[in-house]
């Protein structure tokens, strides 16, 4: 008879139970410990935190790693240096720089069919079942939407208008995430998926859209594809 891997597997359960029984026996005679108030308070807090809406709790984690979008005013008369022809030949540039921890994207109007957009008239043609917009803050060049369902699931959609005098710089922590670059409505997008949720960044003309939350990849893409922006006039 030899000690084989199979024997170890076969005998491990009995060995574990024997060890656990012995451990139990050691403490059986102990009086029940009365935990301190500090311990009880801390544990109540821990349990309460565990009971918090999973979507929100996970989302906090996502947001800590989430994208930072900055619209930076360009120095100089960027637009005036561009020819009308150039404006019409190119679209928003999607410039990607990747480090071991982050993916940085720069949206810059080099050109464009630059359009004014009225963010107040934005419509969401698709939201996952049960979700509805619960909060929104809409400005001239940015809009923020909070979308929730009754189970505590939360999605955030941000829109940023890149003008001829601004550049959109976006940095996403992509360490330990699965990053891909799908095409959405004909434009290159960035999709970063981690176990706790995803971030999708895409663009329509000169508007950057960031979707962040616990949602399936398919739903996120479908939301993005069905955002209807009201572009008013082309320059």
């Amino acid at each position: 008879m030899t000690i084989t891997e199979e024997m170890l597997y076969e005998n491990a359960e009995k060995a574990a139970i024997l060890y656990l029984d012995k451990t139990d026996a050691e403490y059986q005679s102990e009086n029940e410990h009365v935990f301190s108030g500090r311990f009880e308070r801390n544990m109540r807090k821990m349990i309460k935190d565990q009971k918090r809406s999973p979507g929100q709790r996970r989302f906090i984690s996502i947001m800590q790693k989430a994208a930072i979008v900055l619209l930076i005013a360009l120095a100089g008369a960027f637009a005036t240096t561009m020819s009308v022809k150039a404006y019409r030949e190119e679209f928003i540039n999607f410039i990607k720089r990747t480090t071991h921890r982050a993916t940085n994207i720069e949206y810059r109007i080099g050109d464009v069919e630059y359009c004014e957009v009225d963010l107040n008239k934005t419509a969401f043609g698709y939201l996952p079942q049960g979700f509805e917009i619960t909060e929104q803050k809409i400005g001239d060049e940015e809009a923020f939407y909070t979308i929730r369902n009754s189970d505590g699931g939360t999605l955030y959609i941000d829109l940023y208008v890149v003008t001829d005098t601004t550049v959109g710089v976006l940095s996403i922590n992509t360490e330990n995430t699965e990053v891909s670059y799908p095409t959405i409505n004909g434009e290159k997008a960035l999709l970063s998926i981690e176990t706790e949720g995803l971030i999708l960044v895409c663009s329509q003309r000169n508007v950057i859209c960031k979707i962040c939350g616990i949602v399936s990849e398919q739903d996120a893409v479908r939301i993005a594809e069905n955002i209807s922006l009201c572009f008013e006039k082309e320059q």
């Binding site: 000690i3 349990i47 999973p54 949602v215």
Partner: protein, 184 residues
């Protein structure tokens, strides 16, 4: 659907955490107090262990009560030992016999010894009676069916360290088996 499933999983996890807390906090406390010697440090160890359990809650299947208990016992014992070490660091004390990787090498590889003919003793007793550091890796691997990476994460060490521990645990197991291992 994925969102829905994600919420269900979390609901289960939340319930799991409360169940573990109610069922095991007493045992966890006594194990920690045995190592640390006082109630206050033991409570800190239990709390710290629960934080580790939260992070690994998906590894716990409450329907496998012995596996769950073993995992929790190992987590709290290791946590208490870590606290003990931190507290004794300034005294240069090496508590227990946890210097496992620096233990003297043995000449014959575990692989060779494991193939030796051994038929007279009780393997269950030998496994249960291994020193903590060896029993932890053996049972996590062969009972909880953890991968080396999962064991490394549980014991907060490296996979290479886990492989060394397994190798040495097997050597020790052969020795104990030959002697007629008993639960210490």
């Amino acid at each position: 659907m994925i969102l829905y499933m994600s919420l269900i999983e979390s609901e289960q996890d939340r319930s799991k955490f409360e169940t573990i807390y109610m069922d095991y906090r007493g045992l966890m406390f006594y194990i920690a107090r045995d190592i640390l010697g006082n109630d206050s440090d033991a409570e800190d160890a239990v709390q710290e262990a629960f934080l580790k359990i939260i992070k690994n809650i998906d590894r716990i299947d409450l329907s496998e009560c012995h596996k769950t208990k073993l995992y929790i016992v190992i987590i709290v014992r290791r946590t208490a030992i870590d606290i003990y070490r931190r507290k004794r660091k300034s005294d240069n004390n090496v508590p227990f016999d946890e210097n496992y990787i620096d233990e003297g090498c043995e000449d014959v590889s575990a692989g060779e010894q494991i193939e030796n003919t051994l038929d007279k003793l009780d393997l269950v007793n030998a496994m249960a009676g291994l020193p903590d550091r060896y029993r932890d890796v053996i049972l996590l691997k062969y009972y909880n069916a953890f991968s080396d990476a999962e064991i490394a994460k549980t014991l907060e060490t490296t996979e290479s360290n886990v492989r060394k521990l397994l190798e040495r645990a097997k050597k020790r197991l052969v020795r104990e088996y030959e002697k007629g291992g008993t639960v210490q």
